[in-house]
C-alpha cells in the first residue's frame, strides 16, 4: 500500500504528517525540536527513511539533524551524546553543525565580501541552512544551501560539510546582495539524468548552474528583467524566489522570480516570461506536476510590500500549458479575509498516480489536494508559521 509522508518545517519546530495513498486521514507527529526554527527537512530519495533537517536559531546557531527511521528518532550526525569530540589521533571528529567558508589560497580572500544593503562591501558571515537537498542516488551525499549564500556538500551523511567554493569563486560574488530575507541560497535542483548538473538560486544574485558536479558554475539569468536593479537585465542581481524542474523533462525549468513567472527550455541558458493572466506575478512558490511536465502551480501574492494573497482570497493558480494561461484553484481554500503568505520552500508534489499537491502557510495551515489541485483540504490548521513543506511518496 502506498502512502505519503509530508515533512513540515515551522518557526517553532518540525511536524510529520502521514497518510495512505488516499490522502484523506492523517497522522500528525511533532513538534520535533520544539521551539527551534526548522527551515527545511527533506528525505533521501535513495533511502527514504533517512531524513535531513535544518534546525536553526538566531541565539544558538545551526544544527543539522538526521533521522534514519522516517522521523521517529533523530541524531546529530557525528556528535552522538556522550562521545568524545576528538578521535584517537586527537583530530576533531566530524562536526555536523560546522559550516566554514572556504578560505584556501585559491578561492578564499577575494571571495570574502559581497554587496551590503547600502552598496558597500560586507564580509561573508554564515547564518543558517535554508535548504537541504539529498542526492538522488547516494544516501550519504547531501547538499546544503546557506545564508550568506554558498553551497556546501556532505559526503558522510551530514557529519561534516565542505563548501563547493567554485560558486562564490567564479567572480561575481562582490555583486551579490541580500534580499529582504537575507542573502540566502534557497534552491538546489539536481538533474535526475546527470547528477553533476545542478541548478541553484540565490536572493538576490540570481540562478547559477554547474555541469561538473559543483567545481565550476555560471550565471544563468539571460532573459530575466528586474526593474528594481540599476540594470534590469544585468547578469547578476535578480531576486529569484524559487525554481522547479520536471523530472520527466529536466531541461525545462520554471522560476518564480520576485516579480514574474519564467520558464526555460534549455536548462536555464535562456528564460522567457510566462506570467500571462495571473492576477499578480509576485510570489514565492512554484512547482511542477509529477507526471505532466507542462502543468505547473504558483500561489500569487499581492506584492513585495504586501505579502498576502490578492483580495484576501487564497488561490493556487495552475497552468496546463506550461505557463501564460492560468486557472484559479479555489475549492476548499479560504476565499475571504485570508492574509497569509506561502514561503518559497513551502510547496511540494507527490508522485502518486493522481498527483498530490501540498503547501503550507504562514498562518500554520498545510493544505493538500489529492487530485492535482481541483480540490483542497487542510491537513492541519494551527501549526506555527510554516517555512517549508516536502513530501515523500512511500511504497
Amino acid at each position: 500500500m502506498s502512502g505519503v509522508r509530508v515533512l513540515v518545517g515551522t518557526r517553532k519546530g518540525a511536524f510529520i504528517l502521514t497518510s495512505d495513498g488516499k490522502r484523506q486521514k492523517w497522522d500528525v507527529s511533532g513538534p520535533h525540536f520544539a521551539g527551534w526554527e526548522i527551515y527545511h527537512m527533506k528525505g533521501s530519495p535513495a533511502s527514504p527513511n533517512r531524513i535531513y533537517a535544518s534546525q536553526t536559531s538566531g541565539w544558538f546557531g545551526q544544527i543539522i539533524q538526521r533521522s534514519d527511521d522516517g522521523g521517529k528518532t533523530w541524531i546529530q550526525p557525528g556528535t552522538p551524546p556522550g562521545e568524545p569530540t576528538t578521535g584517537p589521533g586527537g583530530m576533531p571528529k566530524g562536526e555536523s553543525n560546522k559550516f566554514v567558508y572556504d578560505t584556501s589560497a585559491e578561492t578564499g580572500k577575494p571571495l570574502t565580501t559581497h554587496q551590503w544593503y547600502d552598496g558597500t562591501q560586507h564580509p561573508w558571515e554564515f547564518k543558517r541552512v535554508w535548504h537541504l537537498e539529498p542526492s538522488l542516488s547516494e544516501p550519504e551525499v547531501v547538499y546544503a544551501g546557506v545564508e550568506d549564500a554558498a553551497i556546501f556538500r556532505s559526503k558522510d551523511g551530514g557529519k561534516s560539510w565542505q563548501e563547493l567554493s567554485g560558486l562564490r569563486g567564479h567572480g561575481t560574488g562582490p555583486k551579490w546582495q541580500p534580499g529582504a530575507g537575507g542573502m540566502c541560497l534557497h534552491t538546489i535542483v539536481v538533474d535526475p539524468r546527470n547528477p553533476r548538473r545542478i541548478v541553484i538560486a540565490i536572493s538576490a544574485a540570481g540562478a547559477f548552474r554547474t555541469d561538473d558536479g559543483g567545481k565550476t558554475w555560471k550565471p544563468i539569468n539571460k532573459g530575466l528583467h528586474s526593474q528594481y536593479i540599476p540594470n534590469p537585465t544585468a547578469e547578476i542581481g535578480h531576486c529569484v524566489h524559487h525554481i522547479a524542474m520536471s523530472r520527466k523533462r529536466p531541461n525545462t525549468l520554471f522560476m518564480q522570480k520576485h516579480w514574474d513567472v519564467m520558464r526555460s527550455d534549455d536548462g536555464g541558458d535562456n528564460w522567457k516570461e510566462v506570467s500571462g493572466n495571473l492576477p499578480t506575478d509576485f510570489g514565492f512558490v512554484i512547482d511542477v506536476h509529477t507526471h505532466e511536465p507542462e502543468t505547473i502551480y504558483v500561489v500569487p501574492i499581492k506584492s513585495d510590500g504586501e505579502h498576502f494573497p490578492p483580495d484576501g482570497k487564497l488561490r493556487v493558480y495552475r497552468s496546463r500549458t506550461g505557463g501564460n494561461e492560468w486557472e484559479a484553484l479555489t475549492k476548499g481554500l479560504p476565499q475571504k479575509d485570508c492574509y497569509v503568505n506561502v514561503l518559497r520552500d513551502a510547496m511540494a508534489v507527490d508522485s502518486l498516480d493522481k498527483c498530490g499537491i501540498y503547501f503550507g502557510t504562514t498562518g500554520g495551515q498545510v493544505y493538500c489536494s489529492a487530485d492535482a489541485g481541483d480540490n483542497w483540504t487542510p491537513i492541519v490548521h494551527d501549526l506555527p508559521a510554516v517555512l517549508s513543506v516536502e513530501v515523500q511518496t512511500l511504497s
Partner: protein, 105 residues
C-alpha cells in the same frame, strides 16, 4: 538544593540547549585546572558535543551575540574567558548561568 559533588561546577543552560543536550535541570561538570568560562565551556562541549557551536563560534570561539554569562548576580559576558570564576561558583555554592537574550521569540 541537593549537595554538589566536590569539585564540580554547576551550569544552568537555557531551555533550548537543555533540550538539545537531553538534560533536565543543572549540568554538573568536572573542570580541569582553574575554572574559567573557557574551561567550563570546554568541559561542557566535551560532555555534550552537540552543544559545540551553539554557545561560542566554532572557529573564533567568540560568544554568540545573543548569549550572556552570569554568576553571583554579575555579568561575566565581557570578561576575558580566562578570568577565574568566582569562588562561590568554584565551590558549587552558585551556578554559572548561560542565558539567551530576552528578545523576540
Amino acid at each position: 538544593m541537593t549537595a554538589v559533588p566536590s569539585g564540580k561546577i554547576r551550569v544552568i543552560l537555557p531551555p533550548h540547549l537543555r533540550g538539545l543536550a537531553h538534560v533536565k535541570g543543572e549540568v554538573l561538570l568536572q573542570v580541569a585546572g582553574t575554572p574559567s568560562v573557557r574551561s567550563v565551556l570546554d568541559a561542557l562541549e566535551a560532555a555534550y558535543p552537540m552543544l559545540r557551536g551553539t554557545i561560542r563560534d566554532h572557529v573564533t570561539q567568540q560568544r554568540r551575540p545573543f548569549l550572556r554569562f552570569f554568576a553571583c548576580e554579575e555579568d561575566l559576558s565581557h570578561e576575558s574567558p580566562d578570568t577565574p570564576l568566582p569562588e562561590a561558583v568554584v565551590s558549587g555554592k552558585e551556578p554559572l548561568l548561560i542565558l539567551g537574550a530576552i528578545a523576540g521569540g
